[in-house]
Amino acid sequence: MKDIISTFREIREKNYGYNYSHYPYLAQWKRNPYTFFKAKLYLELGTILVFLLLKTRIKPNTVTVAYIMLVIAGGICLAIPMKFLILVGIIIFYFVGSLDWADGPLARERNQTSITGDILDPYSALVGMTCFWSGIGLYLVHKSIQGVIYISPDITNFTSCLFTSHNSSIICNESYKIC
């Protein structure tokens, strides 16, 4: 048990040390409070992932590919107009970065750093952004259709009231109230 804790601590310290030395702004919580919080979250989740992945045969590049698959799934979830799936998409996009923060430390721990990994890492970020904005675009399309449906009863009632007689306009007004 002690060994497990010590290895976990070692990985955590290495992970923190590497990221804080390369990106010092991550440690400045007064200047970037949200970035500080998010980096902490990703670092902790990334450390747990690295610790678990070290016990398997999964390669760092496989983690990157998993990240790409997840962001594609997230984009699709955001694009489908179902509340549950949109919620799943939000959760995916919020936590998926921890996978991106885990592949590097895993490669360094196993001495498996490669040019392929160096290429795949920014490519995954690019795919992630593309999927996110595509998903958001389609979400907004559905949202605007929803908006038209919300407004349309008002519009139809208003136009029908304009082109009908006084009595029917009273009926229209009544139906408008119901709407």
């Binding site: 939000i90 919020y94 970065g97 290429i119 490519y123 690019l126 958001i136 675009g137 949202k143 919300y150």
Partner: protein, 132 residues
């Protein structure tokens, strides 16, 4: 963008653009020191103010995690209150900002063969440094 093209681009940036960046930083430092050394404080203050404004706008409206999280928060709010249409506004602002960036870069690159001249100049200097 295909993966092979991206890989080529990435390798190119890794091995060549590092040098270009060094060169650009040198030029930038010279430019800033020149502006700061001038007696005209108005120009230097205007320059720094414009730089600050651009930096803050770029920090807020960017591809970075905090902006993505902000949009996700808006979507979450819209799920709770369906009559809200906040994400539309943010999306349009983002789109406008990207259009502004695109056209400003287009203007900077196309004006008086800016791109060609700069690349020629930089490659010349890199070759000179390599020979040394």
């Amino acid at each position: 963008m295909s993966l092979t093209r991206f890989a080529k681009y990435r390798l190119y940036t890794n091995h060549v653009v590092k040098e270009l960046r060094k060169h650009m930083e040198k030029e930038k430092n010279q430019e800033e020191s020149l502006l700061l050394s001038t007696n005209n404080k108005k120009i230097s203050s205007q320059y720094s103010a414009a730089k600050k404004i651009l930096q803050t706008v770029n920090n807020i409206v960017s591809h970075r995690a905090r902006f993505v999280d902000f949009i996700l928060l808006l979507i979450l709010l819209e799920l709770l209150y369906p009559m809200l249409f906040l994400s539309w506004i943010v999306f349009l602002l983002f789109l406008l900002w990207q259009i502004v960036i695109f056209f400003s870069i287009l203007y900077a690159v196309t004006r008086n063969d800016y791109g060609k001249e700069n690349i020629k100049k930089m490659l010349k200097e890199i070759n000179q440094e390599g020979n040394e």
